[in-house]
Subunit: 227 residues, 2 copies
DNA sequence: ATATTCTGTGTATTTAATACACAAAAGCAA
DNA sequence: TTGCTTTTGTGTATTAAATACACAGAATAT
């Protein structure tokens, strides 16, 4: 009979293979007041209270990590139908107090004013923080997760022009530039920025002038978007 | 008393939270005969035999996904001490027959000739496949995982000059170019390629000429590498 | 020794990135 | 309504990077 290396048998998936819980954490970025913000939550009572955390929660048997991320975000903030991008998995042995947990992180981009926070649970605080003014007491490894997510947003912004729902349907080129500067954390030249944007041919001029701003700037929208 | 939304309670990590097995799959890329290859394995007896799969296996309670990926690769191929990069998580509900499994994928880069396959288990076949000549019967979602991994290798190669252990310690510029062409799946101009490589200042000329090749090419190595 | 194949190199051209200034438009204040 | 201030929108010159392209010399193979 064939003899099988026990190590090799153990790496096969079997009914009794080791199991642990999966969670998803969502780095939800928002843009308002000209700065990039991220949504953090805090339990105000009970275990591990007073630490700010990314919205997150456990995956169930009937859902993928993507579905779980959407669910978690919706439950904690009421936000729905946001495009998410997977960032990375975290699996250090001591990540969680209660038990072994592997986490898959995501990011999403929204406008805070479009998604007023619904405080869905009264033992949890939910709050936007400017990225350059984060609280000290961020729990678990969520500071790292947040950094990794921000890196990925930067990367995706540089490569494509993906800014999700961070701006309203129509916006001025100056608003777009301010957003870029907030995400990339660097200043951009107005004329060079416009040159680059225009040759991407992803925006169209609505023909409408924004009121209340000196100079009378045009409003743009993403091409292919209907009003 | 405070009333708590049951949905919200359920997303908290608890002892009885849903659990599933985690596996890691490794896309091990190798470069020989001037083409990029990937290592696939096949069970030759028993359940789900005759499907080619990326080397993979279940994570245990004492290891991270990174450690698991190294372990799995070592058990199946004898390969050790390879730098791995995490690619992505896969969590579709029906990914595995036996039970719910979430997989985290990795890639690694080696030279096949440095790592002769140790057939560690005699009910498993292990074989290198040229990337442009993959078998039809790749099991589970491993074709997708492989594609995603290859994309990430391309991306990382373009951004930095990371080619892992895909070449021997010393190599000619032509060998390096052939490697780039194999990974990127496009032809490169010799003079422009050398210009770009040289201005990265990551290689040093060993001063040794490679024998057996017409023209007598210099051997290079990565800067900072001792012989 | 002769033919063949591979090596190593430079320049001209195109394209992209950067630096930089001012007149006209709209709002704001008196 | 007038004058002041802020913001808009635009072009050109410079530098850096990407691309296209050819040939003499070195080592091998016969």
């Amino acid at each position: 009979m064939k003899r099988i290396n026990p190590d090799l048998e153990n790496i096969q998936v079997k009914q009794q293979s080791f199991e642990c819980s999966i969670t998803t954490d969502v780095a939800l970025f928002g843009f308002s007041d000209g700065v990039l913000k991220v949504l953090l939550t805090k339990r105000t009572v009970g275990f591990r209270k007073d630490y700010w955390l990314l919205p997150g929660g456990v995956m169930e048997d009937y859902e993928t990590v993507e579905a779980c991320a959407s669910k978690v975000l919706n439950y904690l903030t009421g936000i729905k139908n946001v495009h998410m991008e997977q960032v990375k998995s975290y699996s250090a042995l001591d990540r969680h107090d209660v038990k072994r947990v592997v986490t898959v992180s995501f990011y999403a981009l929204v406008q805070p004013q479009d998604h007023p926070i619904e405080q869905k649970i009264d033992v949890t605080e939910v709050k936007w923080f400017a990225l350059d003014n984060l609280p000290e007491n961020i729990g678990f490894d969520h500071r790292q997760i947040l950094e990794d997510a921000h890196k990925m947003v930067k990367l995706n912004l540089r490569q494509n022009m993906i800014f999700g729902e961070l701006l309203p349907e129509t916006f001025t080129l100056n608003e777009l530039q301010t957003l870029y500067e907030a995400i990339l954390e660097e200043e951009l030249d107005k004329r060079n920025f416009r040159k680059k944007i225009s040759q991407l041919e992803l925006l169209e001029n609505t023909g409408i002038v924004k009121k209340g701003v000196k100079g009378g700037p045009w409003l743009y929208r993403k091409s292919g978007t209907t009003i």
